[in-house]
């Protein structure tokens, strides 16, 4: 953590920006895959500083945003049961399901708790043997290993009252789906560094070759992102399309072998629906049959819940990079972080929320939202 300042150094940033400005000769569209990168780009104003020829398209990389509505509805149904203690990371509590969110379930008497690790949920299960403890296991390859380890531990320790509602997603199939779309404008990818720190970079050369796009593994601090952009632009300008690791301080080519072994043991690949996009084949993980008795969907019989998205929400196009958040007619009017139509306006890593929170000066809306002052 002591390096944070170094990776936000304005002088070094200026040098990287100068290099990008000097290199670019024509328009390029890059997609940053990860929501953490989107948040960092908007928060630090990085997109304002890049040459106008370099367009950053915000990809479907926020785990909160892409969790399907019907999974949220399953979570609400389980969390409402009196015997359940429902544990979740904090930012899932505000994601709207059909008509309500987990905060409201809590206000109605449901036992919903914010935890910082799935192991906290396992501890709660041990301390409450008379209750059913359910952990909401969502996210990309970054959060999947600790979740897998927790289920593994529950089995090993014989903690029967612990189960997990799993909706994990995988990045490479999403890149493949985006690149296969006829309307795709993406010419290069900034791959999510933390995903690669677990999975390595082995899945990317084939994608880079097949779609002829540079893929640059990129970190999250401002200088990391600028370096990722710099390397991607250089490749594009030279007509190259290789996999390049610009985040070597955290990413080994082979990834984290122990984490991958844990994933292999506990999860199996499945087709997964992405909120706003639809089903992407092979893009998710579910608990393997060996761990089925810790699968909350089966334990609480919520597999049958089916839900449709609100028609006004165009988050699918935003998540695919086809639409900038402020180009949606509902942005800032019908749809604000306070009254979100879709998950991209809920999560602080969602592209719509990031634009709304940080960019309202550049993006005049038809009605300026005036919120009242709090009494502190």
């Amino acid at each position: 953590m002591k390096y944070i300042d170094e990776f936000q150094d304005p002088e070094l940033a200026r040098r990287l920006l100068d290099d990008i400005h000097a290199t670019v000769t024509r328009p390029w569209a890059l997609m940053e895959v990860c929501g953490g990168q989107t948040h960092s780009i908007i928060r630090h104003g990085i997109d304002q500083l890049l040459p106008e020829e370099v367009e950053l398209i915000h990809g479907p990389g926020c785990p909160v945003c892409v969790t399907p509505l019907e999974v949220i509805d399953k979570a609400l149904a389980i969390a409402s049961r009196p015997e359940v203690i429902f544990c979740s990371f904090g930012d899932m509590l505000r994601v709207p399901g059909t008509g309500r969110d987990l905060f409201q379930v809590r206000a109605e008497g449901g036992d919903v708790r914010v935890v910082y690790s799935p192991l906290d949920a396992l501890r709660i299960a041990r301390e409450n043997p008379g209750r059913e403890v359910v952990f909401f296991g969502i996210g990309f390859e970054t959060t999947a290993p600790p979740n897998a380890m927790t289920v593994h531990q529950a089995r090993k320790l014989g903690i029967q009252n612990f189960s997990m509602l799993v909706s994990h997603v995988r990045v490479p199939p999403a890149i493949e789906a985006i690149m296969s779309s006829p309307s795709c404008r993406v010419q290069g990818f900034l791959a999510a560094g933390h995903v690669c720190s677990v999975m390595g970079v082995g899945e990317y050369p084939e994608l880079a070759e097949r779609f002829r796009v540079p893929i640059v593994v990129t970190g999250f601090e401002p200088l990391d992102i600028l370096e990722g952009v710099r390397r991607a632009v250089r490749q594009l300008e030279h007509g190259e399309h290789t996999v390049d690791n610009a985040y070597a301080r955290a990413v080994r080519p082979e990834g984290n072998a122990a984490a991958r072994a844990m994933l292999e043991d506990v999860f199996e690949v499945t087709d997964r629906a992405w909120r706003g996009i639809g089903v992407i084949p092979g893009s998710g993980w579910r608990l393997s049959s060996k761990y089925r008795d810790h699968d909350a969907e089966h334990r609480f019989s919520v597999s049958g819940i089916r839900t449709a998205e609100p028609a006004e929400c165009r988050s699918g196009e935003v998540l695919q990079g086809l639409l900038k958040p402020h180009e949606c007619e509902a942005f800032g009017t019908l749809c604000t972080p306070r009254t979100p139509l879709g998950a991209t306006m809920v999560s602080s890593e969602g592209a719509c929320a990031a634009y709304y929170l940080y960019r309202r000066l550049d993006v005049p809306t038809t009605t300026t939202v005036r919120e009242a002052s709090p009494v502190v």
């Binding site: 990085i46 602080s348 502190v376």
Partner: protein, 356 residues
């Protein structure tokens, strides 16, 4: 004008019919100091209570009584755990209310103290909290003049809740209100932000951040006196508690109709707080403080006020973080370290730790 007589509208007692959006019940965000809290006050409490003084909507009400200008404030304390690094609920119950009075320029004179005790809480804990409260009161130069005790059944409270109310005299010539802020004012913060919130979180959630982070809980009356000694013409003071620095700056921007610009690199965030926030995906700008103040000062007095603040132990790390402008009225904008800009918005409810 036509001859048609227009109907006379009776707006006495009229209240906005709009319900609190989408929320049939209270959620934790209604207590978070952000948008939901404001709606609760503006849509339910203020219409029900009425009154001109309440409409001031300051940390403390300033009212005239028997020829004197009094500042009057109340606050309830429901912190968990009761004891945390750097303080306790007893310290907070004094300093929080004393500081609300100080932000109107008043030195707190008397406090009331209401205890709501949960059945089963150990008397030793009650004793320790009371002693902390008494010690804090003596340090702040305020007397606990009246009190009350209630006991609720087991399971109906977190051991101890405390409500304190305070009164103090506002000196002549002092008029601290956000409406006095004008473009060109200088924004000063009295030291590191986010410390109290992270200290409480570290104990509450059992999180370790490598170094112990102690709450900055302190009574700010002396610091305010030192500032007023330089000039009574400060425009507004606020202690950025719930909702943090971001909520306070937004509140003042909106109430004054000016824009606020801050330089992100000048906002003092200690490394331990920055690291804790980076781990949890939180923004230090929204984390609660209990011993800091934000001052909006006329430019011509800014250097002298800053010097006086730095000469006081509770203001040693004071720093200018920005200024007010005519552009983007009601909005707070941060200039980022890299040279970009972003809006700093009001929090909606509670800040939530991010997943990754």
């Amino acid at each position: 004008m036509s001859d048609t007589t227009l109907p006379t509208l009776d707006v006495e007692g009229w209240t906005c019919p709009a319900p609190l959006r989408d929320r049939p019940r209270v959620v934790m965000g209604h207590g978070g100091g952000g948008v939901l809290s404001a709606e609760l006050v503006q849509q339910i409490f203020a219409p029900a209570f009425g009154g001109e003084v309440l409409a001031q909507m300051g940390d403390a009400a300033v009212l005239s009584l028997g020829g004197a200008r009094l500042a009057f404030s109340t606050d309830s304390y429901v912190v968990r755990p009761l004891f945390f690094p750097g303080g306790s609920i007893g310290d907070l119950a004094v300093n929080g209310t004393v500081n609300d009075l100080a932000m109107s320029g008043a030195r707190a004179a008397y406090l009331s103290c209401g205890f709501i005790l949960e059945e089963g809480v150990e008397l030793d804990v009650v004793t320790r909290v009371s002693q902390a409260l008494g010690t804090a009161a003596r340090a702040a130069g305020v007397e606990v003049a009246t009190g009350d005790t209630k006991v609720v059944e087991t399971g109906h409270g977190d051991g101890i809740y405390i409500n304190t109310a305070g009164i103090g005299l506002v000196p002549a010539g002092v008029d601290l209100r956000p409406q006095r802020v004008v473009p060109g004012d200088v924004v000063i913060v009295s030291g590191a932000i986010g410390v109290h919130g992270v200290a409480v979180m570290s104990v509450r959630e059992g999180l370790e951040f490598g170094v112990e982070i102690k709450s900055d809980c302190a009574a700010l009356g002396g610091l305010v006196d030192a500032m007023l000694a330089v000039t009574p013409d400060l425009h507004v003071l606020r202690d950025p508690t719930r909702g943090g620095l971001a909520a306070t700056l937004n509140e003042i921007a909106q109430a004054s109709g000016t824009g606020v610009v801050i330089r992100e690199r000048d906002v003092p965030v200690p490394p331990a707080v920055a690291n804790a926030c980076a781990i949890l995906g939180l923004d230090p700008m929204y984390i609660a403080n209990e011993g800091k103040l934000v001052a909006f000062v006329p430019r011509e007095h800014a250097d002298a006020v800053l010097e006086a603040m730095r000469a006081h132990p509770l203001g040693a790390d004071s720093v200018i973080i920005g200024e007010t402008v005519e552009a983007h009225p009601g909005m707070v904008v941060a200039r980022t370290g890299l040279g970009g800009t972003r809006v700093v918005d009001l929090p909606i409810g509670e800040q939530l730790p991010r997943i990754c």
